[in-house]
Structure formats: structure tokens, C-alpha cells
């Protein structure tokens, strides 16, 4: 016996949504669920492409009304000036309220100590979790995607955090249908990831379709960089280069945007969205593998940071 498949062409059905429409509809549903069920939600907004797409989706979800959330940025003190400028411009443009938690202030106050390697990314966890407690945020949107990293692949769309913001991957709620369970006790909060099911390429295709403006550093430009651990880091006051490292001017762009001390640039001549998308589609390296120093620290670096409260 041979069972014959019923073969249909997916384009036959006029009611089939495109993959971008499906992902958009799902993300909007998630934003509205949070608006309907939580008292004090906040969107983590760094000025990076994922948080920019999140903000765009939130604006669409509640139009023509304003989005019912405030924004929170954890500023490491080593952020790219172009990105901070973009952040402030977008906040003003949409009349949003932005909270800033500053790693530099924590270091200046003696509450955090600079690491010997100069990387500030792991230092974000304390200001982030304290800001959540201080403002009593009960839902915190993050732009994390499951395709980024194998610990993130285990993350729920609604992910409960205890009063210390800790993630326990072995005690997660099963996520059934589209019925997100956001119940939490006072002091606990829920991390919400509307872009869970998006890939890097989906994000770029959506940016192109929706004509979303991005900070310039996502496109190829000449910049003074130096090599460290196989990546091009931007030279600057934050602590690079060391005496043994030399600066050169290269044509580069950024695939991710984070702290200058751990976000690497890639050699690229992609100056347009089309060129960026072609470059990513052809790339044989993952986004974080190509550009993130902190993920290379150990096999479980992301999981360990997430357990402590990092995104």
C-alpha cells in the first residue's frame, strides 16, 4: 500500500497569509494580550533593530491610539552615539516616555565593578532588574528571538520571572495554543517576547516591507576599528584598543547593536536594505556567532546570564 499525498500549491488559497503577515498578526496579538492583562508593562528599547521592530508592531497594534506602554533602556555607558541619538529621536517623535537605567551610574556609585575584560554587557543585569522592581513593572517586553541562540530557543513567549528576575528553564509553563498565561504574584513579573518566532531574515524583510528607519550603523560605512578575538571592535573612549592592538579604517557594518565592548562589526559593502538582505541570506554565520563576544565565553553563557535576569 502506498498512501498518496494530497498535493496542493500553497499559493492556490487566497486566504493563506504570507509568513510575514502571520508573524505580524501573532506579535500584535501578544502586545494586545499584555495591554489587556497587565498593569504596568514596559518595552525594553535599545535602538537596535529588534526593539525597533517591536516598537513598530506596538504602534500598529494600538493605532490610532498611542501605545499604552513606557520604554526602558539599559545604557551601558558604552553605547554607540548614533544609536542613542536615534533612540531619543524616536521617543520624541511618538511622544513616548523613556526610562533609562545607567550602568555608568552604578559603577560611579560603587554598586558595580568594571570587569577586567572591559565588557559591560553582563553588568546590565543589575540595573535592569532593579529598574523593574523600582518601577514595579509587571510585564517587560524584550526583542529576543528563539533563532538567536540555543538557550533562547527554549524561551516561552510569556516567561515568568521570580522576584529576583531569575529564569528557571526547567520550571516553565507549557505554552498551549495562543492562550498565554501571564498570572504572577506581587513582585514577580513576566518577560514577553513578541518576536519569538521571527528569524533574523524575517526582521530584515519586515523592516524593508514596512519601510522602517534604522540607525546608520546597520549599513556599510567607514569606521576606525581594531581586531580583538576575531572581531572588529569600534575604537573609542570605552577602552579600546590596547597597546598591542592597532586601529585601522575599514568598510564595515553592524549586524547587531549592543555594547561597544562586545559587539563586533562585519566587513560589508551593503549600503541598502536590499544589499543587507542579500548579505544575510548568503551568510554562513549566525548573527550572534558573527558579532557577539560574550556568547563565546562558554557553551552556556547565554543560559547562565538569562538565569540571573538578563534578557
Amino acid at each position: 500500500m502506498t498512501t498518496v499525498a494530497h498535493v496542493h500549491d500553497s499559493t492556490d488559497n487566497p486566504f493563506a497569509l504570507s509568513h510575514l503577515d502571520s508573524l505580524e498578526s501573532e506579535a500584535v496579538h501578544i502586545f494586545r494580550e499584555v495591554a489587556g492583562e497587565f498593569e504596568r508593562p514596559v518595552i525594553l528599547f535599545s535602538g537596535g533593530k529588534d526593539s525597533i521592530v517591536m516598537l513598530h508592531l506596538a504602534l500598529k497594534a494600538f493605532a490610532p491610539a498611542a501605545i499604552p506602554f513606557t520604554l526602558l533602556h539599559v545604557d551601558t555607558g558604552h553605547n554607540f552615539p548614533e544609536v542613542l541619538e536615534y533612540r531619543d529621536r524616536v521617543v520624541a517623535q511618538h511622544g513616548l516616555r523613556l526610562h533609562v537605567a545607567s550602568v555608568q551610574e552604578y559603577i560611579d556609585a560603587g554598586k558595580l565593578r568594571e570587569r577586567p575584560d572591559g565588557t559591560r554587557n553582563p553588568l546590565q543585569t543589575v540595573p535592569l532588574t532593579e529598574a523593574i522592581q523600582q518601577h514595579r513593572f509587571d510585564a517587560v517586553f524584550g526583542g529576543g528571538r528563539r533563532d538567536e541562540e540555543k538557550a533562547r530557543a527554549k524561551e516561552r513567549v510569556f516567561s515568568l520571572r521570580d522576584e529576583f528576575s531569575q529564569w528557571d528553564p526547567r520550571r516553565q509553563r507549557p505554552e498551549l495554543w495562543q492562550l498565554y498565561n501571564g498570572r504572577h504574584a506581587a513582585g514577580e513579573h513576566v518577560r514577553v517576547f513578541p518576536l519569538s518566532n521571527w528569524t533574523e531574515l524575517d526582521v530584515w524583510q519586515y523592516i524593508q516591507r514596512e519601510k522602517i528607519e534604522l540607525p546608520e550603523i546597520y549599513f556599510a560605512h567607514e569606521r576606525e576599528v581594531f581586531a580583538r578575538s576575531g572581531m572588529w571592535l569600534t575604537a573609542g573612549d570605552w577602552g579600546g584598543p590596547k597597546d598591542t592592538e592597532s586601529v585601522e579604517t575599514r568598510l564595515i557594518r553592524y549586524r547587531t547593536v549592543g555594547d561597544m565592548s562586545c559587539t563586533g562589526a562585519v566587513d560589508s559593502d551593503a549600503t541598502t536594505l536590499d544589499a543587507v538582505i542579500a548579505e544575510i541570506a548568503a551568510s554562513r554565520l549566525t548573527e550572534r556567532g558573527a558579532t557577539r563576544a560574550d556568547d563565546k565565553m562558554s557553551e552556556a553563557a547565554m543560559e547562565d546570564r538569562k538565569r540571573e535576569g538578563y534578557f
Binding site: A66, Q172, A278
Partner: protein, 447 residues
């Protein structure tokens, strides 16, 4: 235009999204199949492979262990097992895929229920040497219970049975008969060798007697949306949008994701549970005004009358509105470590509405292995599937799960700490029919 640019623009053209789940125990070769789908669709990138090779070497393994691609947690890698559902993403020029990768042997049922709840297709793996075993029947039963529209039976390890057609045909026949009886609407059986690559992505040269598609070809072509005319239109209200600005002083829109069917401007709708009626005057599809919208689009609906509607209400066409009820009979899969007992007070989350409820009865518990029924178990524990009768504090507009996966499903939640206790499917299922026949057999005095 160079060939690679042409390929790229083809790949980036409008594609659809298929969500599917895999089911199979460790020895059936599920990791190998998932690894091959990811690898052969070029979704495994160099740095990921290098990380796997490095980790495999440091564990003293000679060949790269592809399971390390998917086991993301420290504990999973240490123990060499998959603890929880993970979601993977890959794409071909024809379609994008979200794969719910469900572990085969730990806390089995709730994981597969989780993966299957959003899946439009389930791949059930069978070892060709062993044929349909208890585990296979369990996979088929969960797929049937969750009403996954398409089931693929992948008869794996055909290389170990000399690629013989009769071996495949016997397994396919037995599985198809069993799954059809459970109500699985469409079954496609494919003979494969995940290890050798037969019929996974490339057609097999070893099985010229097989005329059907490869696994990937089937995944690429299976229809992803259903006949809208056969669906009852349902719109759970998520959020009321009222800007109250100078530009939009009177705008009042009901935001939500269409759960089933389609809605049109001009249509008369009924609001449940209040029963009030109105007419749709506008549909805003995320910035675009449209005349018709369908599931699963997220939209905002505007009505002719200013009636009291809030989160948790359901809009349905006036001629096709569901009845409301406070007494719900359902099949549930228990997903928590603590038990669910008769008399317990719970919260019930249905679409956008959460209400208080009490478990009135647990008429039966199902044994998935042989589909036998145990009457009045008193409680359900982790991974149990059973029938429950729940009384809610407020009326709900529930459909049968058989009619709508979205408006027929619900969660039972522990009000004390928010733990998700059970996944519920309203109305009849094969778990009901069997219970009735058992009771009839036992009584027997009627004749």
C-alpha cells in the same frame, strides 16, 4: 541577474508559514531527522556546526552529535536528553517552517500536547524494524485529540529492512487504520532513512516503488489554511481602542485576532455573552481599511452602535453565534506536577476571558496506550488525559474543539500561584465515545 540573485529573490518572494511538530522516541531517529531537515535545508550555519563539533570532541565523541544542535540547556547537554519543547526555524524557497521539537521520553504527553496545540502537521516517526508500537499509538492519539489537521507517518530506518516495500506497506496500513478510527483527517505515510537521507529532502534511489513526496516536499505543499466558509466566524475582543484625541475624538474599535472564519463590513454581529447586536461599520487591518478579514488576522472592528463591549466578549455573526454555558464538558490533558481533583477551585482561561470555575466531576481517565477508560479516578495527575465537568462563575461562549481549535480550547489555572494545570478541549472527543461504551457494557441489564 546572476543565478544566486535570482535564487535569492525567489526565496524571498511571498511565502507561507507552516507550523509542525515532531513526535518520536529517542531510538526512532527523531534527532537525526530534525538534524537532516535543518542541515539539508542549509539552516545549520558554520559557527553552529563548529560549536557542535567542538562540544562533541570535548565529550570524547568521534562524530559530531547533531542532538547538541537542538539541546539548548546545560542540563540537557549534561544528561544527553531533551527536557522541554524547543522551537526551530528553517526555510526553503517555497515555505518558512516553525518546528516544535518535542522530546520523546520525558514527561511525554504534556510536551507533545504543547507542541501539537499550535501545529498544523505532526510527523510521527516509527522504526521500520519495530513497526507500530505502543508509543506510536500514543503519538497518533495525541495528534487526533489535539486535532492536528495533517499527520505524516515517517517510517524510518528503511535501510535496515533492505528498503522492502511490504515492510512499509504493512506499517502504513496498520497506522492509517488506527489513526483514521481516532479521527485523524489526513495521513501521509513516507518511507525514509533519516541517517542515509532517503526521502527526507532528496527522493530515494533505493525505493523506486515509492511514488509519493519526500518529507520536505510534503511539508512544502501541504495546505496551511482551511476552508473559511466551513468555519463559524469568531472574534474574541482583546482590547478596546479609544484614542480620545483631537484627531480621533469618537474612534472606538475592538481589537483582536480573528479566531475562526471571516468578518465583513455590513455584517450583523451578536456580542456574547450579553446577546446585544450591532453592525460592522469598519475593519482596520493594522493600518489599512478593509472590507473583509479572516483568521488569523489581527484587526480592529468598529460597530454602528455604542454598546458595552470589553475584553473577554466574543463577536460572532448573528445567524451563527454559539450558545453560552456555565457547564463545560471537556477532555483535558493534565500538564502540572500537582494533581487536579474533584471539588477543586480553578481559573479557566478561554480566548481572552478568565473566569472562576470549579471541577464538578472527573468522569473518566484515559490510558493512551490502549485507549481504555478508567471511570471516576477522583483526580488527574501529570500527563493524564481525562474527561472533566467544570462549572464556571460566568457564562462562556464556547465552541466544540472539533469545530474550532481556538474557541474550543481553554486552560485551567491554579488561582493560588498561576500554575497552568490543564489544557482543555471542549465537547466530544474519542475519549468520550469510549467511556460511554464501557459504561454500557458494565451495566448490560438494559437488554
Amino acid at each position: 541577474m546572476s543565478t544566486s540573485t535570482e535564487q535569492l529573490s525567489e526565496q524571498l518572494a511571498a511565502t507561507t508559514l507552516l507550523r509542525f511538530a515532531t513526535a518520536g522516541s529517542v531510538d526512532d531517529g527523531k534527532s537525526t531527522l530534525v538534524g537532516r531537515l535543518l542541515h539539508d535545508s542549509k539552516s545549520v550555519l558554520v559557527d553552529q556546526l563548529e560549536a557542535v563539533e567542538h562540544a562533541s570532541r570535548s565529550r570524547g565523541q568521534e562524530a559530531p552529535d547533531l542532538a547538541l544542535l537542538t539541546d539548548g540547556l546545560r542540563a540537557e547537554r549534561e544528561q544527553g536528553i531533551t527536557i522541554d519543547v524547543a522551537y526551530r526555524y528553517f526555510a526553503t524557497p517555497r515555505r518558512r517552517f516553525i518546528l516544535a521539537d518535542t522530546p520523546g521520553h520525558v514527561q511525554y504527553t504534556r510536551n507533545m500536547v504543547t507542541g501539537a496545540s499550535t501545529a498544523e502537521l505532526a510527523v510521527v516517526l516509527v522504526d521500520a524494524r519495530n513497526g507500530v508500537v505502543e508509543q506510536t499509538r500514543r503519538h497518533a492519539a495525541v495528534a487526533a485529540l489535539l486535532r492536528v489537521p495533517h499527520v505524516v507517518l515517517a517510517v524510518n530506518k528503511m535501510d535496515l529492512v533492505e528498503y522492502r516495500e511490504p515492510v512499509f506497506a504493512a506499517i502504513a496500513e496498520e497506522f492509517t487504520t488506527y489513526a483514521s478510527e481516532l479521527g485523524v483527517p489526513e495521513i501521509t505515510a513516507i518511507p525514509i532513512s533519516a541517517l542515509a537521507g532517503d526521502n527526507v529532502v532528496e527522493p530515494s534511489a533505493n525505493m523506486d516503488w515509492y511514488g509519493g513526496p519526500t518529507v520536505l516536499e510534503h511539508l512544502e505543499t501541504v495546505p496551511v489554511s482551511h476552508d473559511l466558509t466551513a468555519c463559524h466566524a469568531r472574534f474574541p475582543v482583546q482590547y478596546v481602542i479609544r484614542p480620545q484625541t483631537a484627531e480621533h475624538p469618537d474612534y472606538r474599535g475592538y481589537a483582536g485576532q480573528i479566531a475562526a472564519g471571516a468578518f465583513r463590513v455590513g455584517e450583523q454581529i451578536t456580542v456574547l455573552p450579553s446577546g446585544k447586536t450591532s453592525t460592522i461599520t469598519g475593519i482596520d487591518a493594522l493600518g489599512e481599511s478593509v472590507d473583509i478579514a479572516w483568521a488569523p488576522q489581527s484587526v480592529t472592528i468598529r460597530l454602528a452602535d455604542d454598546i458595552d463591549i470589553s475584553r473577554g466578549d466574543l463577536l460572532a455573526p448573528s445567524g451563527d453565534a454559539p450558545a453560552t454555558t456555565q457547564d463545560i464538558e471537556a477532555t483535558v490533558c493534565h500538564v502540572a506536577d500537582r494533581a487536579l481533583a474533584v471539588g477543586q477551585r480553578v481559573l479557566l482561561k478561554h480566548t481572552t476571558r478568565t473566569v472562576k470555575a470549579i471541577v464538578k466531576e472527573i468522569p473518566s481517565r484515559l490510558t493512551l496506550d490502549d485507549l481504555s477508560q478508567h471511570p471516576n479516578p477522583g483526580q488527574l495527575v501529570a500527563n493524564d488525559i481525562g474527561r472533566v465537568v467544570v462549572r464556571t462563575a460566568e457564562p462562556l461562549a464556547l465552541d466544540a474543539y472539533a469545530d474550532s481549535r481556538r474557541t474550543g480550547s481553554f486552560l485551567l489555572i491554579d488561582p493560588a500561584d498561576g500554575t497552568t494545570l490543564a489544557a482543555g478541549m471542549a465537547g466530544e472527543s474519542f475519549a468520550t465515545a469510549k467511556a460511554v461504551s464501557v459504561v454500557e457494557d458494565e451495566e448490560g441489564w438494559d437488554f
